[in-house]
């Protein structure tokens, strides 16, 4: 039996400060004191929280971006077993995806912090949050949805000498508590619109599954499934509605370009597109969640085979392959496509590409298989990025770049050139949100 979820949408067209938090007909009033009190229980390792708001139409840059959350709150769920939104983070890890969920539409709660670089707390190598940048104007605004949302920026300053785990945990929970508190304000109010998500199969249409291969390599490079990192997960079958209700939460802060923020896990562009076409020309059979960056060929083949088996078991005619992360994940994805096609399941893929600084380097992917003959380009991450100067910067006053070379801290508002798009939040476009692609000339 499939799940039925009603999403109720409460648009946020205006955000203003007030004595207490309230939502009314498109206007969200926030009391920062009230939000600080809400976050307080989760902030043992936090020195300070302060807020900023970045509105659509501003010529702005947001720096030090960590995760971004869609504020939502479940008002109804099955009494005996149903879970709440973002299960396993603040709420008990009961099964999500059923009932009624209220969403503050057009509002993003964005966590920003200049995380420590010292070895003791920030660990090393991959595992430190590189500066993630959002530009709200020009070509690069297309990377993220957040040039068009009202962004409530929650800035964190952490206490010294704590562990990465502690910082990561506190920031996530504080951000969640704030998002949940705001979404709860809609309780009992009429929604502007609502949408029902139910993937009960329609006879005669081909089944399609989404393979959602997420990164998990340690603190700051994790993906959480019902509150736990997916480090040792075998491919797992999710109802699409579990994605919508936040069963999967992003924690990949290492490489800004490869990030899939929690906002795009729960507003998954492919999940929503498959739902839009469910019952029209396909049956949305489910989401297969797996870990990318499997450590060896043995692990990669094991994972790919289990996914292909699962898709066959679901009677899928086709699957969409999506991965989070870089070259290592590409191999996982390609093996999955190969195994799927060998079982007669047609596969299509979306991925960022290489191509060199000037777009003439002919090898676009680090790995491929002959079966990967339907590939959508989400753009090349290797092209130099030039950001024009902006009127205002949020999240910090300077950028924090080039840690391995001792650090470089330019003014966050000035024009800047990057060698690649590595620092651009969601620049790899692995969620499929962006319309940026690389075209052949």
């Amino acid at each position: 039996m499939t799940m039925r979820l009603t999403r109720k949408y409460y648009p946020v067209r205006e955000l203003r400060e007030g004595d207490r938090c309230a939502y009314s007909a498109g206007t969200l009033t926030v009391s920062y004191d009230e939000l600080l009190a809400v976050a307080k229980p989760y902030g043992k390792n936090i020195a300070k929280i302060w807020f900023e708001v970045c509105r659509p139409g501003e010529n702005a840059r947001i720096v030090h971006v960590l995760d971004t959350i869609q504020p939502m709150y479940k008002t109804e769920h099955p009494a005996n077993w149903g879970g709440k939104e973002y299960p396993g983070i603040l709420n008990y890890p009961h099964t999500a995806g059923c009932g009624v969920t209220n969403l503050l539409e057009g509002l993003a709660v964005m966590e920003c912090a200049a995380m420590p670089w010292d070895e003791g707390s920030a660990s090393s190598g991959l595992l430190y949050p590189r500066d993630a940048v959002i530009q709200t104007t020009g070509f690069y605004k297309h990377y993220t949805p957040f040039a068009d949302t009202i962004n409530l920026i929650v800035n964190f300053e952490v206490l010294p000498d704590r562990t990465s785990d502690e910082y990561d945990n506190d920031i996530r929970k504080s951000g969640m508590a704030i998002a949940q508190h705001l979404a709860r304000l809609t309780e009992g109010q009429p929604a502007q619109r609502e949408e029902v998500f139910d993937n009960t199969p329609v006879a005669g249409l081909p089944g399609v599954a989404l393979v959602w291969m997420c990164q998990n390599q340690g603190v700051y490079a994790n993906t959480l499934y019902y509150g736990l990192p997916i480090y040792d997960i075998a491919p797992t079958l999710l109802e699409p509605n579990e994605m919508l209700d936040g069963a999967v939460v992003g924690g990949n802060l290492g490489w800004p370009t490869y990030k899939i923020p929690t906002w795009t896990h729960v507003n998954g562009p492919i999940v929503l597109e498959l739902y839009r076409r469910h019952g029209v020309d396909l049956n949305f059979a489910g989401v297969i969640l797996a870990r990318s960056h499997q450590p060896s060929n043995w692990h990669k083949d094991r994972c790919a085979q289990i996914i292909a088996k699962m898709a066959a078991q679901l009677n899928c005619a086709g699957l969409i392959m999506q991965w989070e992360g870089g070259g290592n994940a590409c191999i996982d994805g390609m093996l999955t496509i190969q195994n799927g096609e060998r079982r007669g399941i047609r596969c299509a893929l979306l991925t960022f590409e290489f191509g060199g600084k000037d777009g003439t380097e002919g090898q676009l992917l680090v790995d491929d298989v002959p079966e990967a003959d339907a590939v959508v380009s989400t753009g090349s991450w290797e092209r130099p990025v030039h950001l024009d100067a902006v009127d205002v910067a949020y999240g910090g006053k300077t950028l924090r770049l080039d840690k391995e070379k001792g650090g470089y801290f330019p003014d966050a508002r000035e024009a800047i050139d990057f060698e690649t798009n590595v620092h651009m939040y969601m620049g790899g476009n692995q969620s499929g949100y962006s319309r940026i692609m690389a075209r052949e000339y």
């Binding site: 297309h142 076409r277 070259g327 299509a348 979306l350 380097e361 090898q363 380009s377």
Partner: protein
Amino acid sequence: MTKLRAVCYINQFFAGLGGEEKAHEGLLVYEGAKGPGLGMQPMWKGEMEIPLTLACGDNFFNLEENYEAVKPEILRLVREAAPDVVIAGPAFNAGRYGVACGKFCDLITSELGIPSVTGMFPTNPAVEMYLRKTYIVATGETAGAMRTSLPKLAALALRLAQRAPLGPAAAEGYLPTGVRINEVDERSAACRVVDMLMSKLRNEPYRTEIPLRKDEKVPAAPPLPDYSKVKFGLVTMGGLVPKGNPDKLKMYASETYGTYPIDLATFDSAHYESVHGGYDTTAVNKDPQRLVPYTAALNLLERGLIGSLTPYFLSTCGIGTNVGMAKKIGGEMARQLKEDGVSAVFLSST
């Protein structure tokens, strides 16, 4: 309004002289349109005309000494005609004619800065040679496809003459020149990937946006018969460097590598670190020998199991590096090691 001007280049066959027996003919000069130009001129509806057509026999033009001899005269004639664009062919799948068309276009564009366009069947060998030097419209395989090929050639020639900014290859009808540019599409990647899958499921045509790499296999090296006579090197992709990263190796998208001597007395966590940006380097930062197992290799040497060992290691960060750059770095490493008499390496990847 003055008309735009196109100068055309054709071979002896399309000039009406004959086939193979006339392939040695030298430079021929015709006033106005001739051959395919006659078909194209009306398509421009008075906006562009052909004041001059040049022709050569294919064998003549393909011979380097003839080409060099006739080059100044061609440049003089074209300069005098002052065209806004030059058009060669279409050459369809004819190899020598294709090369002649490519050569002519390349000459005019590089010497005179005038845009050029030709037409060929996509597998014509001349395509690979001239793809980056001129625009090539995809045509049918033989002159039988003249009727379907000319409109595409004429349309692109007019746009080039107008100095209109050209759109992507697929939209304009030319063969991709090997350059890819990030642009904003009308639709999100999510919508396009679902569409593509559905087309594939229905056996309808679709166009992959990332062509696969050309078939490329790296053959395994033949086995070495006797390790005890072999000099071994030490290489890591794990980003091990002396503390402070003296060569400023990049933590991703590497472009260089470093060569570092090993002194066992200082081969430790106080003196070495990894700057690799793609894995948890905590363990290797505690002991560099997790990446470069020098003591273990020395042990093999002492037991006579390997012939000799380099007293240094090569290092780079294997992450986010495109294939072309990886080949360059790998090639340089191999060259350096071979020059030092190394024929096998202990290679650690991460």
